[in-house]
Amino acid sequence: MDQEKMLWIYRKMQEIRKFEERALLLFERNELRGSVHLYIGQEAVAATVCSHLRDTDYISSTHRGHGHCIAKGAELGPALAEMMGKATGYCLGRGGSMHIADVTKGNLGANAIVGGGVPIALGGALANQMRGTDDIAVAFFGDGATNEGIVHESMNLASVWNLPLIFVCENNLYGISTHTSQSTAVEDISVRAVAYDMPGETVDGNDVLSIDKAIVKAIERARSGGGPSLIECKTYRWQGHWTGDPQVYRTREEVKSWMEKCPIKRFEEYMVSKKIATEDELKKIEEEVIVQMDAAEKFALESPEPDPATVMDNVFCY
C-alpha cells in the first residue's frame, strides 16, 4: 500500500469517527430522530475496502451504514442532513439514517432489512459483468445477516454466475443483543464460503493492513473474472446496537478491551513507526476533519425542512 492510499484511509476513518460522534451528540440534543446505528469501532473495514473501489464499482450497505456511505464518497453535510430529515439530504429527507444512497458514486444504498442489500449488490455485479467492464461490487453485511436465507441464496448465485462480487461480513459479535455464539453455528463465518465454492478468509477487522491484504486479493480475483469471495472482518461496535440501547448483554470491561484495539489509533501508531506520517501530520488531518464536520453540522442544521406539498413526489418515475 502506498503512502497516498494510507493517508486516504486514515482521513476516511477520521471522517467516519467524527461524523458518528457528532451524530450521537445531535441525537442526544434531539436534533435527530429515528433509529441511529453507529459505526464507531469498525471504521477500518469501510475505509480500507472502499480505498480500492472506483465510482463505477457498486456497494450495498446495512442499517449501520454511515461508514460505508462516507467511505464510498458521500459528503458529510448532505449525509448528516439526511439523518436530520432535511430537504438537502441525500434522499431529500425520505430515507433517513438507514437508507442513505448515492447511485452516482456507486453506493446502491444502506438497507434497513438485515441481508436485504446483499442481492442488490449482486445485481450491481451482474450489471457490471454483463457490460463487460472490470468493475465489481461489494456487499457489506453483518454477522446477523449470515443467518438470513437471502444471503445464502446470493452467495450461491454469485458463485454459479461467477460474479465480480465480494461479500464483506463485519462480525461485531452481536446481533442486537444476541452474541454470535448463541445465533451462529460456526465461529468463523468465513467457513461458510466453502459451501459456495469460493475463497473465504477471516481477518482482524480492526487492522487496516490485514483487511487490505485480503481485499486486494479478492478484488484482483473479481476484476479478472475469477468470481466472488467472502471476507469476514472480526470487529466490535463501541456503542450499543442503536443510540438508545441499554447494553445489558455485555460488560464495560468487554467494551473497554475493544476500545483499546481502536482501529484508528492502531493505524496511527503503524504509520508513525514506519515513518509514513508524523504525529503532527496526522493530527493536522484530524483537525481538518473537525473543521469539515463543523461545516457539515452547520449545513445540516441550517438546511430547510422538506415541503409537505412534495411528500408524494418520486413514488414513481414519470
Partner: protein
C-alpha cells in the same frame, strides 16, 4: 396483425425488446434450454445467448434482488417467476426494496424492472399454485400492476412494462397461454398503462373484469343481450395505475356496477374498485356495487371444488340481474 397465442405474444415482445435494447435481459427458473415451463421464453437462448437468457437456481428472493440491483445499476431486467404465488418467498425484495427504493432515495434511483409470471386456477395446481395475488401489490405504493386478458393486450402491455422506468408486476394467467388472438405487428405497439379498455359498450350495467374473467364476462354479456340487458364491459388492464375516469363515466351512465375477479373477494381488487365508485359516483348509483371473487377459502385441488370457490358464469349473470332488481 398476426394471430398468436398469449404465450407466443409474450415471447415475441420479449425477443423484440431484447433486440431493440441491449440492456434488456431475462432471468428465471428453467427459462433457457427449456424455454420456461409455459413456453414464454422458448427460443430466446438460441437467439440471445446465455449471457442475456439466464437460468437461475430456485432462489426467488435472490433472483428478484438481482433484478433490483441490476435495474438500479443501469440494466433493464425481466425476472420470470414460474408461479406468481412464489412472490411470497421473495416479498422483502419486492415490497421493501423494489417498491420503495426510488422514493426512499429521494427519486435518485430508477428501477426499470419487470417481474412477470402466471397465476390463477384452471390446471389443478391446488392452493399454493392457483392463487391470484395481485391485490397485495396494489396495496403497497411503488409498483405498477398489470393484468393482460388476451394476446394482443399481453403484447401491448408487456412492451409498455419493459420500457417503463418503474418496477412492474405483470400478472399473466395460466389458462390464457393457449388462447389465440390478433396481435399488432408494429414493433413499437404499446398499450399505455392507466387506460381501461371498454370491451363492449352498454347502457344498463357496468361490468368490470380482469384477466381471464374478461373473456368469461363477454360470454355472459352476449347471453344477457338476448334477455334485453345491455352490459358495458370494462377491462381496467392495469390496476396500478387505475383508470378511474373510464369506470366512473361508465357508472354515471349505467347507475349500476359489478366487479368480477379471481382473487379472493376479501380485500381483493373489487373492494378497492367498489369503494372508489362509492366515493366518486354515489349519487349516480341505483343499486349497491356487487363484487365477485374467490371465496375466503384456499383454492382446492378437485376441479368441482375449485369451481365452487371462484366465480362462475351463472354467478356473474345473477349478480347483474340482482343490481337490476330482476
Amino acid at each position: 396483425m398476426s394471430k398468436k397465442s398469449y404465450s407466443v405474444a409474450i415471447r415475441d415482445v420479449i425477443a423484440e425488446e431484447m433486440s431493440r435494447d441491449d440492456r434488456v435481459f431475462i432471468i428465471g427458473e428453467d427459462i433457457a434450454e427449456q424455454g420456461g415451463i409455459f413456453g414464454c421464453t422458448r427460443g430466446l437462448l438460441e437467439q440471445f445467448g446465455e449471457e442475456r437468457v439466464r437460468n437461475t437456481p430456485i432462489s426467488e428472493a435472490a433472483m428478484i434482488g438481482a433484478g433490483v440491483g441490476a435495474s438500479i445499476s443501469g440494466m433493464r431486467p425481466i425476472v420470470e417467476l414460474m408461479y406468481m404465488d412464489f412472490t411470497f418467498v421473495a416479498m422483502d425484495q419486492i415490497l421493501n426494496q423494489a417498491a420503495k427504493i426510488r422514493y426512499m432515495y429521494g427519486g435518485k434511483a430508477t428501477l426499470p424492472l419487470v417481474i412477470r409470471g402466471q397465476q390463477g386456477v384452471g390446471r389443478g395446481n391446488a392452493a399454493t399454485h392457483s392463487q391470484s395475488v395481485e391485490s397485495i401489490f396494489m396495496h403497497f405504493p411503488g409498483l405498477k400492476v398489470v393484468m393482460p386478458s388476451n394476446p394482443g393486450e399481453a403484447a401491448g402491455l408487456l412492451r409498455t412494462a419493459i420500457r417503463d422506468d418503474n418496477p412492474v408486476m405483470f400478472f399473466e394467467h395460466k389458462i390464457l397461454y393457449n388462447t389465440q388472438g390478433e396481435v399488432n405487428d408494429d414493433p413499437d405497439f404499446a398499450i399505455p398503462f392507466g387506460e381501461a379498455n371498454i370491451v363492449q359498450e352498454g347502457s344498463d350495467v357496468t361490468l368490470i373484469a380482469t384477466s381471464q374473467y374478461v373473456n368469461r364476462c363477454k360470454a355472459v354479456a352476449e347471453k344477457l343481450k338476448q334477455d334485453g340487458i345491455s352490459v358495458e364491459l370494462i377491462d381496467p388492464r392495469t390496476l396500478v395505475p387505475f383508470d378511474t375516469e373510464t369506470v366512473i363515466d361508465s357508472v354515471k351512465k349505467t347507475g349500476r356496477a359489478v366487479v368480477v375477479h379471481e382473487a379472493h373477494k376479501t380485500a381483493g381488487p373489487g373492494a378497492e374498485i367498489a369503494a372508489m365508485i362509492m366515493e366518486e359516483a354515489f349519487n349516480y348509483l341505483d343499486a349497491p356495487v356487487l363484487r365477485l371473487g374467490a371465496a375466503a377459502c384456499p383454492l382446492p385441488f378437485n376441479l368441482n371444488l375449485e369451481n365452487a370457490v371462484v366465480p362462475q358464469e351463472a354467478d356473474i349473470e345473477s349478480a347483474i340481474k340482482k343490481v337490476l332488481y330482476k
